[in-house]
């Protein structure tokens, strides 16, 4: 009988454990994601004064009273990267200044971020804000999970930056992201190696190719660290390359229909010249198709490559791997075949529809983007400020940053097409397959087939 009783108790306790483990009903503020690591950037000195440090405060009519305890849950990919301590330090300082605000970071790797947001949205458990990847903006707009924070930010904040930055942070007229920093794409090169060439700067694609040849010795030094892996990182760089040839991957014609230049001769030319950098000119280190951004930066930092198309954050990554390169780097806008171009890659946090305190969240996000914080952050990471007065700081008046500052004027609007990531994948497949030996005709036939199918689905 004792055994029976014991067995019943055990089974009952097992069932209870299960039910407890699966039970919902906890307040949203305390819920986290299984796959995410939750960090609380809480400072011991929370009782410090509550001086306002966020600069211009927007209309704060609906701001919660200062003694109401508020928790802001922020899903951050920065928390999984080297810049985590810088971001946490800002949050700690803000909490010290606002004792009623508690900021919790949910750390999620950038590659998993979109999937996490979609999953959390399907279970009605969105955080208050999340780090927005540019490519995810059209999808987030379509899903209706992000609010337009304009009313909480105030005119002073929005007017402090170039209108092109606001445009980048918007989709179909809705401000999707509170701009925090930008990572414009330009060409980084070894300024000290330029003395070995006949060039003072790199203006055109022809210059780029010739400088690449001059940098290359074919044994342990190559001209260009080409990211040939078929992933978002490689595709984003290739996208800028083909745009310099006048290609617009996806855009709306006068009738409003989505059309693409990927089937045009100018894309064919751009694609051919891109892969020829490896296959014909021989200025790319071996293994281009398996070279991702980390490998490319390593080649550059180890002085095995002299040029790389990248965002300004690569400056920080290169110098941190090889401090001896500090002062030896320079940058120029993406060389022109038809035009100079860049993607500003305006980054920051989006406030979700689940956020109950958008005013407080907006205030914190403004604090992160203010001049002092932005310059400190840029100095450590290479991620550039969005505020115009911060960009005038002397640290950006150097050869390393010159190209990134100059290229801002060439920014093209980011496509708002909801299937843009698939368009990028089509381009990625084309360069990756050609680097693997596929002919231009076959690659273009595949491009044509996929883009036409995609456009037909869009029309349906």
């Amino acid at each position: 009988m004792k055994k029976k009783l014991l067995s019943i108790l055990l089974s009952a306790s097992m069932a209870a454990t299960l039910l407890t483990g699966c039970g919902g009903g906890q307040p949203a503020e305390s819920q986290g994601s299984d796959a995410a690591e939750e960090n609380t950037a809480e400072d011991d000195s929370q009782n410090a004064g509550s001086a306002e440090t966020s600069g211009d405060t927007a209309e704060a009519g609906d701001t919660a009273s200062s003694d109401e305890e508020i928790t802001l849950r922020i899903m951050s990919s920065i928390q999984t990267e080297g810049e985590a301590s810088l971001e946490s330090a800002m949050a700690e300082q803000y909490m010290a200044d606002h004792p009623n605000i508690k900021i919790e970071y949910i750390a999620v790797a950038n590659n998993d971020l979109n999937a996490q947001i979609i999953t959390l949205n399907s279970s009605d458990d969105l955080p208050d804000a999340f780090y927005m990847n540019t490519a995810f903006m059209p999808q987030a707009k379509s899903m209706g999970i992000v609010i337009d924070p304009t009313e909480y930010l105030g005119d002073d904040f929005l007017n402090s930056m170039d209108p092109s930055i606001i445009e980048y942070a918007s989709t179909d007229g809705q401000l999707m992201v509170v701009p925090w920093f930008m990572v414009p794409i330009a060409l980084i090169y070894r300024a000290d190696w330029m003395g070995e060439t006949d060039y003072d700067t790199i203006e055109t694609m022809e210059d780029f190719r010739n400088v690449g040849k001059a940098f290359t010795n074919g044994t342990d030094r190559w001209g260009f660290a080409l990211v040939g892996l078929q992933n978002g990182s490689g595709e984003a760089r290739f996208s800028q390359y083909v745009k310099a040839f006048g290609v617009d991957e996806i855009y709306q014609d006068d009738s409003g229909a989505w059309v693409s230049d990927l089937t045009e001769d100018k894309y064919r030319t751009a694609l051919q010249t891109f892969v020829d950098l490896d296959l014909v000119d021989g200025i790319v280190p071996p293994g281009a198709t398996e070279t991702g951004y980390p490998e490319a930066v390593t080649y550059f930092a180890n002085e095995q490559a002299g040029m790389i198309i990248s965002g300004s954050n690569a400056l920080g990554a290169i110098v941190s791997q090889n401090p001896e390169l500090d002062g030896k780097l320079a940058s120029v806008p993406i060389p022109s075949q038809d035009r100079h171009v860049t993607n500003l890659q305006v980054s920051g946090y989006s406030i979700t529809t689940a956020c109950e305190h958008p005013q407080e969240m907006a205030d914190f996000l403004k604090y992160m983007a203010d001049k002092e914080n932005a310059i400190t952050f840029a100095a450590e990471t290479g991620r550039m400020p969005v505020a115009s007065d911060a960009l005038e700081d002397e640290m950006f008046d150097t050869p390393a940053y010159q190209g990134f500052v100059d290229c801002i004027q060439y920014a093209l609007p980011y496509p708002t097409y909801s299937g843009y990531s698939e368009v990028q994948d089509i381009m990625g497949e084309s360069y990756n397959s050609m680097l693997s030996g596929v002919s231009i005709d076959d690659a273009m036939a595949q491009v044509e087939s996929r883009i036409n199918t995609l456009l037909a689905e869009t029309t349906e």
């Binding site: 979109n114 071996p286 397959s433 693997s436």
Partner: protein, 302 residues
Amino acid sequence: MKTKSHKQEQFQPSKMSLSELTPYLFIFPVLLLLVMLVVYPLSYGVYISFFDTDLGKNWSFAGFRNYLVIFTQDNFLKNIWVTFKFAFLVVAGHFVIGILLGLALNQKKRGTTVFRTILVLPWLFPDVVIALIFKWLANPMYGLFNSFLLEHGLIEKQISWLGSTQWAFAVVVLVCIWKGYPMVLVNVLAALQSVSSDILEAARVDGANAVQLLFRIILPAIKPVLATTVILDVVWWFKHYTIVELLTSGGPNSVTSIVSIGIYKEAFQYFKFGRAAAMAVVVFVICYLISKVFRKVLSDDE
């Protein structure tokens, strides 16, 4: 019908004694767990496959359109073919290495315990760690493979092991064989220890050589274990994702583009969850059929 009503009469909790209820109480937690973790996700996956959805507010009924699309586009069928090749080669590799090592380690010799421990290690490493280790070993510029081959004059210039269509698939398969053979090894080793030494001795007395012993006595004796292992292994590697994604992301030129990578892309890169779910349902059906076929072929009916 008679049987059914008889059963209904039997299961009347209010009239059951505590001892009669006990088995159901034991079953309940696991049943609940199965419904929550297996039945619900599977059913939800099938449900999604009939919609065009972003899993948010946008849901539009698509009927069988997602299934029609994936079967009329080359990519999915190509991915399925690559996956069959990949799973077949990986599982074959596991069984060859696993059985040979299992036979070797089944002998009562000094040091076998140490080797057993060492040889099981690949199984204990996480997929991510293994993928990153091999990615750097195979790196054309810094990798140990190229460094060794160049140093010994076996190659003249760096080979892009993971970046060339000639090598990438083979390297990925080899890495996955290295990662997964211990599962077969452990199962085979356990099964071998249950093979009666009397039967083996009798076969030897009858004049059987080592090959005949292996194919006529040992393998038939451990066939039930092998059958279960092959089903688990095939299904596991048919839907594998991590190592291939980290090593090649399906490239170069899609030579390593297994179906799980296609599904992930469809869902989390293109945000076409309905189509991705339809692909996943097809993979589920394929895995189920594989399981049925193996059970039939490897059954002990004869």
